[in-house]
């Protein structure tokens, strides 16, 4: 039987990515700036985070013209929702097991991107 920590997704495990998916899971498509304010991160940090999650197919990013500006809408995909739910379940399993610190690696980003 494998330890639940091995199911942790390293792509999601980063604090900003984790927070981003936690927020998006509860929202419809949201404005980029609103998301930056909510998570208290800079535009560039959010942009980099979104790029990583977008490449993994966990979020959607749509740009729409709004007056003279472009508005960016961010949403979570079904895959993103499922991955985050799985990640949370794994964390809960670790809490339930009450296991002390461990050094085993979670799934890598490369593994995550592989279908």
């Amino acid at each position: 039987m494998t330890h639940p920590r091995k199911d942790l997704d390293s792509l999601i495990h980063s604090p900003v990515r984790f927070s981003l998916l936690a927020a998006l899971r509860n929202l419809e498509d949201v404005d980029f700036r609103f998301l930056a304010d909510l998570l208290e991160v800079s535009d560039s940090t959010l942009s980099q985070t979104l790029t990583a999650l977008l490449e993994a197919g966990l979020v959607t990013v749509r740009k729409e013209p709004s007056g003279r500006r472009t508005r960016t809408w961010v949403g979570i995909t079904d895959a993103g929702r499922a991955a985050f739910t799985q990640h949370l379940a794994t964390l809960q399993a670790i809490v339930d097991s009450g296991d002390p610190a461990t050094t085993s690696p979670p799934r890598t980003e490369k593994e995550h991107l592989t279908p």
């Binding site: 984790f18 927070s19 509860n26 498509d29 949201v30 404005d31 609103f34 964390l91 085993s104």
Partner: protein
């Protein structure tokens, strides 16, 4: 390869972070639901006060206009946290409500000589339904 040292306490902290962010995210967008409900209330109050309680038109229209203007200004200030197409759809819904009631349902009930207040109340509820539909997330897809 990334190595994670995750203890039960750290996992518990992450779960708590998720709960906190979830609450904050939901709280930040909750206003839109109330915006829709209050707009529907203003619209229904207007038609019922006009045709059920026979309030003079401007005495019914002015408070509705004032209330609607106030909530739209508030919504505009919070537009960044509005759902995608939420405000646009609400604008269309309010216009639909007005046209539906004043140009279609109200003249139709007068034409058939409806006397019961229930018909007017029902017409008001039907007319306000496009506004209430904006509560549904599927209306924005």
């Amino acid at each position: 390869m990334t190595q994670h040292h995750i203890s039960a306490d750290e996992a518990r902290a992450l779960i708590a972070t998720n709960a906190k962010i979830s609450i904050e995210a939901r709280r930040a967008v909750r206003w839109f639901r109330w915006f829709v409900i209050v707009q529907a209330f203003f619209a229904l109050s207007f038609t019922i006060s006009l045709d059920v309680f026979h309030t003079p038109y401007w005495k019914a229209f002015a408070p509705m206009l004032l209330g609607t203007g106030s909530i739209w200004m508030t919504a505009f200030l919070h537009r960044r946290s509005a759902p995608r197409d939420g405000l646009r759809n609400m604008g269309i819904a309010v216009a639909t409500w007005f046209v539906l009631y004043t140009w279609m349902l109200d003249p139709a009930l007068q034409l058939v000589g409806a006397t019961s207040s229930w018909w007017w109340a029902l017409a008001g509820i039907i007319a306000v339904s496009p506004i209430l539909a904006c509560l549904s997330a599927s209306s924005r897809r």
